[in-house]
Symmetry: C2
Subunit: 240 residues, 2 copies
DNA sequence: TCAAAAGTGTTAATGATACACCCATGT
DNA sequence: ACATGGGTGTATCATTAACACTTTTGA
């Protein structure tokens, strides 16, 4: 793999990890989706690598010899957000030979889902991780815009087929919060009554007979996702 | 990556390609599905690598420095079957650190679809590639059984959402041939009248006003998949 | 004339869509 | 009392599922 000389001279956090003796480096790039009321964000970080200085990139890292891809993705999540037990989903592997200026880096894309409300105080400051509204993502370093688009499409598909959305809400939530989440992810408006009928018919929500507090209007009932009901339903029929 | 000494000593077709200086090798493994009337096969090859001597494995190879993953998959297909322009779909990347006895090999799984009827005479002999009925796949070398299962599930899902099945049939086919294909892939029986109504309503088939020949019963009409109609339909609404 | 697969319609059930008003709470 | 979001039902339409007989051809 030929390296551009001017690129080789630029030392940064990546070059120390890509031994030019390797034929190939493997990395994991995470599209970290963070949700908070009515807004979906993606975690970005500033890129200091030519020719992408000043651009933003997804967060990623080289896969270490001792770890598999899921472990690498979890480590990256932990290092960048401090969070463990985050929902992670492998999406696709990107391998264009010239996709990385430092040499041959094949990257495995993951998306992950984070409740920004709940964990915001735990998350590092703005200069370490930038949370960009997904509606405002235009260009990114490397092929990261393509990776972002593919991961967002995958999320949109999965949210219609599997109960992944609950990873973006607090344990207990109202039906309207859930509907708003679906609307933000899918970028469409949904009918309130049809949405409720649909979700209740799925029979995967647990009613806690508990109400919202601290709202200046009629408080809504709180529900939670019941994994056991879900698995039972999957075993019986299909779902969604 | 520590190598088991007894394994290191066994020279075979892989060890020459996995330089122990690399931290990691990247490979592509293909689940090559071949279809012929009422039967779906997968291409296997005999494995001579301890501890899997005598087992069968999927066909795969190391990704070369000059090629991306799709190119590697196409090359493997070409080398093993002689076929080009084969339908290929990247499925998932497998990365357990101990999945390969010779060291760290991360593999990207693809599935591909081949018309066995049409190309059977072009395919290499039995000792080079073994075509095993997918119903008879039990154990495979490495983690290849898991890869096979994941790829088969993916095919079953995609065939319900996209027009991939047509890659397994000759250009012109009868509606019953198409139905049999779906039944074999999905492992279920379908209702003839409902199947026909459904497919005609999709409006992606072209009627050639042509009949089967050489059959000892009433000949069926021949249809072909019309890509333009399909793309138009995708542009308008959704599909399937 | 027989065997073998081709071809064709209707009904019932289910799921999806469209749509408007009253309710409970805090201020 | 008012502003805010919470909560509910019905009618229509589209899709899916279940089901059996006649037709055409070659042997």
């Amino acid at each position: 793999m030929k390296l551009n000389k001017s690129v080789e001279e630029n030392i940064n956090s990546w070059i120390s990890q890509i031994n030019v003796e390797y034929k190939l480096a493997l990395s994991v790039d995470c599209v970290i989706f963070g949700y908070t009321t009515r807004d979906m964000f993606v975690a970005l970080t500033k890129c200091d690598m030519p020719p992408f200085e000043g651009d933003y990139s997804l967060v990623g890292d080289i896969v270490q010899p001792s770890e598999n891809l899921d472990q690498a993705a979890n480590r990256i999540l932990q290092e960048r957000t401090g969070l463990t037990n985050v929902y992670l989903e492998q999406v696709q592997t990107f391998s264009e030979t010239n996709r990385h200026p430092l040499g041959r880096v094949v990257t495995v894309a993951y998306y992950s889902l984070i409740k920004l409300n709940e964990y915001y105080d735990k998350l590092p400051g703005e200069d370490f991780l930038i949370w960009r509204n997904i509606k405002d993502v235009d260009t990114l370093a490397f092929d990261h815009k393509e990776i972002f688009d593919v991961c967002l499409s995958r999320l949109q598909k999965q949210v219609k087929e599997q109960p992944v959305g609950f990873n973006l809400l607090p344990k207990k939530f109202t039906l309207n919060q859930l509907q708003e989440l679906y609307e933000v992810i899918l970028g469409v408006e949904l009918d309130k009554r049809n949405f409720r009928r649909k979700l209740k018919s799925l029979n995967i929500l647990q009613d806690h007979d508990e109400l919202q507090t601290d709202v200046s209007h009629r408080p809504a009932k709180l529900y939670s996702f019941n994994k056991k009901l879900y698995e039972q339903r999957v075993a019986d029929n299909f779902l969604f």
